[in-house]
Symmetry: C2
C-alpha cells in the first residue's frame, strides 16, 4: 500500500470526522470503518466519470447504509464531482446544502439512489443489475458491449438483517446477476451493542445458499486484499458476489473505534484531533486535505475520462453499424414517448360490456408494450390474478435476460425497491404488481419512489371487499387513504375502461411521480360519462338537470356506478343530484381552486362520499354537513355481492343517506 493511497483513504476519514463534528450531528462510524474499501473501489476499480456523472455505461454505486453519507460526499468531493465543494461538506446537514443527512437522489449529483431505510439500497442495487442485464441482452452486439457495467452496493449489519435484502438477494442468486457486487461492511456492532444480541447467523453461508460467490477480506484496511477480492468478484460470470469486509466501526478514532457510540454521534472535538494525530494527518485544521491527495484522486479520475471517451467511440461506431439499434436506443431513452398516446383513439375506447378493471388494465398493458419497447414489469407471484403478463414478450430469467415479464416471487417489499432500482438505472419504464391489500408491504418503497421522483407504476388489484371470499386479510380498507396521504404519489381508482386508460396514461407519461392503480377484481360496467377528464382527478361523470344540484354524490371505482344508480332514483324522488367521479384525489387537489369549485361548488353542502373503504380523507370534500357511505371496520369472507349488500353499498342506502341530510 503506497503512502499516497493511505493518505487518500485517511483524507476520507478526516473529512468525515470534520463534517460530522461541524454539523454536530451525523454518523461517523460506518465511513471511518469502510473508507479503505470505498477508496479502493472508486479509485482503482469503478468506472465513473466525475466530469459526466450520467454516462450511461458507468458503474453504479449505492451506499445502502445511507447514514454513512459523509463517505459518499467525501468521495464525490475528492474525485472532483461538480458542486460538491469543500464548503458543501462543511455545510453537512444544513438547510439548502447538497449534503443532507442521508444521500438524496436528484438532489446531489453523483448520488445514484436515496438511502437511509436500511436494506433498501441492497434491493435497489439488485434492480439496477437487473436493468443492466436486460439492456445488455437487448442492445449488445458482438464486439459492441455498449451496456457493460457493474453495480456495487455497500452496507452493514443492519442492511443484512432487514428482510428486504434477504428477498432481493435470493432473487439475485436465482437470476445469476454476476455483475452485482455487494460489499458487506462487517463490523459486528449495532446501535444496541454487539451483533451477538440479535444477529449471530452465518451471513456468508446464507449468501452461499442464495447462490452467491462469497469472499472474505480479513483486514478491511488492506487495499491489496480488497483489490484482489474485487477482481475475483468481477471475474465471476455466473453468480453475484458478496464480499465480507471485516472492519472496525469508527476506525482511526482511538476512543471510539469498535464501539456502538461511534455509530451515530459526532466524535467530539478532542477525538477529532486524536483521530488526525493517530492517522498521522499533517494538520489539525478542519477540512484540510493536502494537495498531493487531491492530485492522486484527480489522476485516478482521469483514467475514467479516457474510458468514457473510448466508449463514446464504440457507441458511435455501433450507431453507424446498427442504425435500427440506434433508433431503438433512442426510443428506450425518450422520456416523452408515452405522451403521444393521448391522441391514440384506440387507447381510449373500450367495449361496452362489463369488465373488471384488472382485466382492462391487462389489455392496456398489452397495448402499451407495443408502443413502448422499454416497458417491462411483473408481479410478486400473482400475474395470473393481477393480469400483468405481457403476451409473447418472454420471461426475464438467467437464461433469458431479454424477457420482459419479471417474476419477483412472493416478495412485495423488495419488488418495489427493485422496480425503483430499475428505473434509477435509466432506459426502462417499469411496473410492479400485487394485491392492493399488500400495498401495505410495498409502502416503504413506494415512499422512496415518491421521495426520489421516480415514476414507477404500481398495479394493485383486488381493490376492496369486491375480493369476496378471501376475507378481511385480503380486503383493502385503509389502503386508498394510506396512499392518498403520501406526498408525490398518485393513486388512481378507476371506475371503468376509460378511467383505467387515463390512470395508465398518467402513470407512464408523467416524469416525476409514482402512480398506483387500484383495480377491481369484479366486473364493472363501462360508464357513458367517463372521459379523459379523469386526468383531472375529479370530474362530473353524471350531471344534474339543474346547474346547481341539490346534492353532490362523490365516489371512486366500483362505487361510481352505485352513485349513478342512486342519482336516478333520487331524481324520481325529486332530488336532482350531481355525480362526481374522483379516480385520483391527488390530481384533483392539484387543479385550480376555480376548477375544484366548478366541480364541487361550496354552496352545495349536501354531499355524500361513497367508497368501499374507510372514509378517512374524504372530509375535505364532504365538509361538516355531509355524510359517508363507507367501511368503518374490516371486511368479511363471503361472495362479493353479499358483502356489498351487507356493508350498505346499496342504492337504497345511498338514497336514504342523501335524503337524511
Amino acid at each position: 500500500m503506497s503512502n499516497i493511497d493511505t493518505m487518500s483513504v485517511n483524507a476520507i476519514r478526516v473529512l468525515v470526522a470534520d463534517a460530522v463534528q461541524k454539523a454536530n450531528s451525523g454518523h461517523p462510524g460506518l465511513p471511518l470503518g469502510s473508507a479503505a474499501m470505498a477508496y479502493e473501489l472508486w479509485a482503482k476499480h469503478m468506472k465513473h466519470n466525475p466530469t459526466n456523472p450520467t454516462w450511461a455505461d458507468r458503474d453504479r454505486f449505492i451506499l445502502s447504509g445511507g447514514h454513512g453519507s459523509t463517505l459518499l460526499y467525501s468521495l464525490l468531493h475528492l474525485f472532483g464531482y461538480e458542486n460538491l465543494s469543500i464548503e458543501e461538506l462543511a455545510n453537512f446537514r444544513q438547510w439548502g446544502s447538497l449534503t443532507p443527512g442521508h444521500p438524496e437522489y436528484g438532489h446531489t449529483v453523483g448520488v445514484e439512489a436515496t438511502t437511509g431505510p436500511l436494506g433498501a439500497g441492497m434491493a435497489m442495487a439488485v434492480g439496477m443489475a437487473m436493468a443492466e442485464s436486460h439492456l445488455a441482452a437487448i442492445f449488445n452486439k458482438e464486439d459492441f458491449p455498449i451496456v457493460d457495467h457493474y453495480t456495487y452496493v455497500l452496507g452493514g449489519d443492519g442492511c443484512m438483517m432487514e428482510g428486504i435484502s434477504s428477498e432481493a438477494f435470493s432473487l439475485a442468486g436465482t437470476l445469476g446477476l454476476s455483475k452485482l457486487i455487494v460489499l458487506y461492511d462487517s463490523n459486528k456492532i449495532t446501535i444496541e451493542g454487539s451483533t451477538d444480541i440479535a444477529f449471530t447467523e452465518n451471513v456468508q453461508k446464507r449468501f452461499e445458499a442464495y447462490g452467491f460467490q462469497t469472499l472474505v477480506v480479513e483486514d478491511g484496511n488492506n487495499l491489496e486484499e480488497i483489490s484482489v477480492a474485487l477482481e475475483a468478484a468481477k471475474a465471476d460470470k455466473e453468480r453475484p458476489t458478496m464480499i465480507i469486509v471485516k472492519t472496525q466501526i469508527g476506525y482511526g478514532c482511538p476512543a471510539k473505534q469498535g464501539k456502538s457510540s461511534a455509530h451515530g454521534e459526532p466524535l467530539g472535538v478532542e477525538n477529532v484531533v486524536s483521530l488526525k494525530d493517530n492517522l498521522g494527518w499533517p494538520k489539525h485544521d478542519p477540512f484540510y486535505v493536502p494537495e498531493e491527495v487531491y492530485a492522486n484522486y484527480k489522476k485516478n479520475a482521469e483514467k475514467n475520462v479516457i474510458l468514457e471517451a473510448s466508449w463514446n467511440v464504440m457507441f458511435a461506431d455501433y450507431c453507424t453499424k446498427f442504425p435500427k439499434m440506434k433508433a431503438l436506443w433512442e426510443k428506450y431513452h425518450d422520456e416523452n414517448a408515452a405522451e403521444k398516446l393521448i391522441d391514440e383513439e384506440a387507447f381510449w375506447i373500450y367495449d361496452e360490456k362489463a369488465e373488471a378493471t384488472r382485466n382492462l388494465s391487462g389489455i392496456i398493458i398489452n397495448k402499451i408494450k407495443e408502443f413502448l419497447p422499454n416497458f417491462i414489469g411483473g408481479s410478486a407471484d400473482l400475474a395470473p390474478s393481477t393480469k400483468t403478463y405481457m403476451k409473447d414478450e418472454g420471461d426475464y430469467s438467467k437464461e433469458n435476460y431479454a424477457g420482459r415479464n419479471l417474476h419477483f416471487g412472493v416478495r412485495e417489499l423488495s419488488m418495489a425497491a427493485i422496480g425503483n432500482g430499475m428505473m434509477l438505472h435509466g432506459g426502462l419504464q417499469v411496473y410492479v404488481s400485487t394485491f392492493f391489500v399488500f400495498s401495505d408491504y410495498v409502502k416503504p418503497m413506494a415512499r422512496l419512489s415518491a421521495l426520489m421522483n421516480i415514476p414507477l407504476t404500481y398495479v394493485f388489484t383486488h381493490d376492496s371487499i369486491g375480493v369476496g371470499e378471501d376475507g378481511p386479510t385480503h380486503e383493502p380498507i385503509e389502503q386508498l387513504a394510506m396512499l392518498r396521504a403520501m406526498p408525490n404519489f398518485s393513486i388512481f381508482r378507476p371506475a371503468d375502461g376509460t378511467e383505467t386508460a387515463a390512470a395508465w396514461y398518467y402513470a407512464i407519461s408523467n416524469k416525476k411521480t409514482p402512480t398506483g392503480l387500484a383495480l377491481s377484481r369484479q366486473n364493472l360496467p363501462q360508464l357513458p360519462g367517463s372521459s379523459k377528464e379523469a386526468l383531472k382527478g375529479g370530474y362530473i361523470i353524471s350531471a344534474s338537470k339543474k346547474e346547481q344540484p341539490d346534492a353532490i354524490l362523490m365516489a371512486s371505482g366500483s362505487e361510481v356506478e352505485l352513485a349513478i344508480k342512486a342519482q336516478e332514483v333520487l331524481l324520481q324522488e325529486g332530488m336532482d343530484v350531481r355525480v362526481v367521479s374522483v379516480p385520483c384525489m391527488d390530481l384533483f387537489e392539484q387543479q385550480s381552486a376555480e376548477y375544484k369549485e366548478s366541480i364541487m361548488p361550496k354552496a352545495v353542502t349536501k354531499r355524500v362520499a361513497i367508497e368501499a373503504g374507510t372514509d378517512f380523507g374524504w372530509g375535505r370534500y364532504v365538509g361538516l354537513q355531509g355524510a359517508y357511505v363507507s367501511m368503518n371496520g374490516f371486511g368479511a369472507s363471503a361472495p362479493e355481492k353479499i358483502l356489498f349488500d351487507k356493508f350498505g353499498f346499496t342504492v337504497n342506502n345511498v338514497v336514504e343517506t342523501v335524503k337524511s341530510l
Copy 2:
C-alpha cells in the same frame, strides 16, 4: 402406516376438496399436499385438548399458509373442536360462517392466529416461542415445568420467500428457540409456476446459516418418516428445527397434482370424484367421513384430555408449594391489572420542565414495569433513541430468557409480528418500538394486530420534521394519517407528559385495540391545560374567553404548544379562539355526537388544523371553510428549529392563517 391412519389423512383431503368445491372458491393445493404431516402432528405429537382449546400449556400450531385454511378447519372438525361442525365446513367462505377464507383468530375456536399474508405466521410463531421461553424461565421450578410446550408452524414456498420470515428466523436462530418447529411444505410450485423462476436458493442451507437444526422428509406422505423427524425436532434442546417436507401440491387429485392450477381454485366436480376414487374413499357423497375415522380422531384426542388433567394436578401442586408464584401467575394473567393506574397519582403528574415525549415515555415505561410484572418489550435496534429500555430488568437472550428487554435487531416488520405472537401466546403485555417513519415497515403487521384485536403497543419516536438533520428519509409526514385511517388502531400523538401518560394508560388498559404512540425527539413544554381528558381523544386544552369562540385551533403533539401561543397573540388582536388538543383522532371519533359538538361546535366554521404532517384526514373537522397549517411535501435535512420555521410552523403563520378565514 396403518389403514386407519391413511384413511384419517384422506378424510382431511376429502373434506378439503368438498369444502372448496361447495364454496366454489378456495385453495385446495396446500391442504391436499400437507394433509399427512398435519395429521401426524396433530394426532401423534401435538399437545392439544379439543375440549379446552385455551389450555395454557397446549402446544401452539399456526398455519402460516393461511390460504390452506380448510386444512385447519378439517383438523378442528375431525378432532371434535366445539362449533366446527360439518355444516360449518359446508359453509366454507360464506357470510357468518366459522370458516372464512383465511383463518381468523378470535372468530374460530382453535385458530391461534390470523394468517393469510404469507410469512406472517412464521414470525408470529417465533413470537409465541419467545413468549413460551420467557414464561418458562420466570415460572418453571424443578419438577414443575408448568410452561413447557412447543410452537409448530406450517407454511410453504411463499412463506419462505417473504422477508419477514427471514428476519424472524435469523432472530430465532440467535435466540436458540429450541421449542420452535417449522414445517416447510416444499412443493416447488407457486402461482406463477415452478419455484425455479424466482426461488432456486438452498433453503436448508439458509436455515443452517441461521443456526437451525434442519431435517428432510423425502416423502411427505410417509407418516413414519414425518414422525421420526418430529421426534428429532423435539429432541434438540439447543436449536429451533426446520423440517423440509417434500410434498406434491394438490396430492390425490390426478388431474391437478403437481400443478400451479391446484393452488387457488376448486378442483372441479369431476376431479373431486376422481380424487375420492383415487384415494379409495368409500363414498362419493360430499362431506362423508366414515365412523371409524371419527373414532380414530377421538381416540387420539382423548390422550390429550389425560395430558391436561395431569398438568392440572401438577399446577395445583405448584400453587400449593409456591404460593408467591401462584400470585405472580395470577398477576401475569390479570387482564384488568393496568386499569388501577387510572387512580395512581404519580402516574399522571410530570415535571414542569420541557421534555421530549420519547423521554417521558421512557420514564413511564419504567413506572409500568414495576406495576405490571408481565410487561416486556424492546426495539428494532433503536432502544437508546426510542427510550424503551427497562432498567435493571435484564436482556432477553439465549442465556437469559427471563430478561424483559427484547432485542429484535434491525427488523421492524418481523418485530411487530413477533409482538403479535407473544401477545397471542397469552400471559404477557408487550411493546415494540422503532422510529415513526418506519411505521411504514410495521404497517402490515399492525394491521394484523388490529384485525386480531390484539392490544400490542407500538412506541414510535421521532414523530415529525422535529427529527431535524437526518432529513426526509427519517421524517414522518403521512404516517399519522396512515395509522389513523386503519380500523381498530389507535394512534396517539401526545403533546406533553400528561398526554403521554394517557396514551400509555390507554395502550395497556384496553383489551381489544393495538395502540401506537407517536413521540417527539425534541423537548416539549408541560402544558397547564393537559389532563386525563386526553383519553377522549380530543378536548379543550385552552379555552376561549367567550363560550362560543371566534375560531377553533386544533392540533396534536408538538403543535399544541404553537396553537396556544397563537391563541394568545390572536386574543391581543381581538380574536377569541379555542384550542383543541387532538392526541388521538380514533378515540375522538368514538365519543358521542354531543361530546364532539361540545368540543367543536358546528356553528364555528373558522377552523384551523395545525400538524407537522400531511393534513389528509383533518378535513372532517376543518370543513369546507377552514384551513390548514401542515406539510404538503417531504421534509428536509437541517436543525429542527430551522425546519419548523421554514415549513411555516410559526406563531405568525398560524395567526395569519386564522385571520385569513
